[in-house]
């Protein structure tokens, strides 16, 4: 099954290593700013400590009436400083590929999906840990927000 994340990964892998860095830079440049409700309330964001540079994220799950929890839409928000373009690039990729997907689609995303971008060889495997951690924290937040009361971890 092809997901937006898998399709993006394919684009990256098809590019030369130098072009992969350029693509990552484009995602970094295009990472949307936080909406005001988060920009003014940093305590609502979760810090991803596995990233070398400060990265914060927030996850919202829709509550459309008559729609099963698994089919509700997920919105994702990121904040990272311009001096951390690699981290911003990782966030930009995840935003592009995951924002607006359903709960089920996000939870079905393989944990190791970030390793499929051919980026380890251009940014180093150590730096890739940050992107893997972002994805796992997004999934954790989605689980937290969709778990029946009293069962959340």
């Amino acid at each position: 099954m092809s997901t937006p994340l898998a399709e993006l990964a394919e684009d990256f892998r098809a590019a030369s290593p130098q072009d992969r860095l350029q693509l990552l830079l484009e995602f970094s440049d295009e990472l949307p700013d936080l909406p005001e409700r988060y920009a003014d309330a940093p305590e609502k964001l979760e810090q991803v400590h596995e990233c070398q540079s400060p990265l914060f994220l927030a996850v919202e799950v829709g509550d459309e009436a008559g729609v099963d929890t698994n089919d509700q839409q997920v919105s994702i928000f990121f904040s990272a400083p311009p001096e951390a373009p690699t981290t911003r690039g990782f966030a930009g990729i995840l935003h592009e590929a995951l924002n607006g997907l359903t709960v089920r689609e996000i939870l079905d995303t393989p944990e190791q999906a970030p390793m499929e971008f051919g980026l380890a060889e251009v940014v180093s495997p150590l730096r890739m840990r940050g992107m893997v951690a972002m994805l796992s924290r997004i999934k954790r937040q989605v689980r937290l927000r969709t778990a029946p009361a009293g069962t959340a971890q």
Binding site: L21, L24, Q52, P82, E83, P85, T86, G89, V123, R127
Partner: protein, 301 residues
């Protein structure tokens, strides 16, 4: 380019150091660029070395090329620096010859730039300098940045010679440190890492040390104490007050500096060696990620 009072002040500060030729001012570099003296194959090659591998690509000092600590300086397999052949290729591909003046700058108060300078010194590259204040100062002064990457024409310089690394004068290995116990050691990590409360830098990923604390006898002098808010180095008098008066180190001491992987301690190595003229300082790049994981080495808390 007009010379301002600030520029004169910067130059006067640098003249005080033990080896003033190791540091250049932003004004000096801007002038060299304007005169066309910088770039691959020219007398001066400018390199940017950052923590973030993409930062250079977001905009850099005109004519500068990137030198990444992970991708370009570390061996991908063994925990060691690249070998002589790879280093020669790395230099040639940036238009650097053995006698080129290399100016390195970067983010985080030149912390990674100092690391790159130290690695180039392992290979005996003679004329390698830091830009005082690094990337942050250049940008804060509103100087030009560009996304244009200079093209390196093949043959723009003679091929860089294959020179074997000579580690012993400035690099310490674990066994050297064991033999050194009792002599001065400088731990440049944050106070929390030194005391053993933290196993990693504040706000940084856990990189897996089994034990916290420091090497017995090490003095705690966080690296950043040598830097001003704007990323420039403190004056010689200020540095002497810290390392000589307060810590009791002497320029003739045999000293080992360490941190977590040897990057922050490269900054301190640069300060002690080039700014204060200490002659016998080694950087222990295994640092806490090796010591804190090694069976039966002594640890102090």
């Amino acid at each position: 380019m007009t010379v301002t009072n600030n520029d004169n002040h910067d130059a006067a500060k640098i003249a005080e150091y033990a080896h003033p030729e190791r540091l250049v001012t932003t004004a000096w570099l801007a002038q060299q660029i304007a005169e066309g003296n910088t770039g691959p194959g020219k007398d001066i090659v400018v390199l940017e070395s950052d923590e973030d591998v993409l930062l250079y690509d977001t905009g850099h000092i005109p004519t500068a090329l990137k030198l990444d600590w992970h991708q370009d300086l570390n061996d991908p397999l063994t925990r060691d620096y690249i070998d002589a052949e790879t280093f020669a290729t790395t230099m040639t591909s940036r238009g650097i010859a053995r006698d080129t003046t290399v100016v390195i700058y970067g983010d985080k108060s030149n912390w990674w730039a100092a690391y790159a300078l130290w690695v180039m010194t392992l290979f005996g590259h003679e004329d390698v300098r830091l830009l005082d204040g690094g990337r942050a100062k250049w940008i804060a002064e509103g100087r030009e940045v560009t996304r244009e990457v200079p093209e390196v024409q093949p043959g723009v310089t003679a091929a860089y010679p294959v020179v074997e690394r000579d580690d012993s004068p400035i690099r310490a290995f674990r066994d050297d440190v064991l033999a050194h116990l009792g002599k001065p050691l400088v731990d440049v990590r944050s106070p929390g890492e030194y005391s053993g409360e933290l196993l990693h830098m504040p706000d940084y990923p856990q990189e897996g040390a089994m034990r916290g604390g420091h090497i017995p006898g090490a003095k705690s002098v966080p690296w950043a104490r040598a830097a001003n808010e704007d990323g420039t180095f403190k004056t010689r008098a200020e540095l002497e007050a810290i390392y000589l008066d307060e810590q009791g180190l002497s320029p003739n001491d045999d000293i080992v500096a360490y941190c977590r992987i040897g990057e922050r301690s490269s900054h301190t190595w640069f300060v002690l060696t080039h700014l204060l003229g200490f002659e016998n300082v080694r950087n222990y790049d295994g640092s806490w990620t090796e010591w804190g994981n090694t069976v039966r080495v002594p640890i102090e808390r």
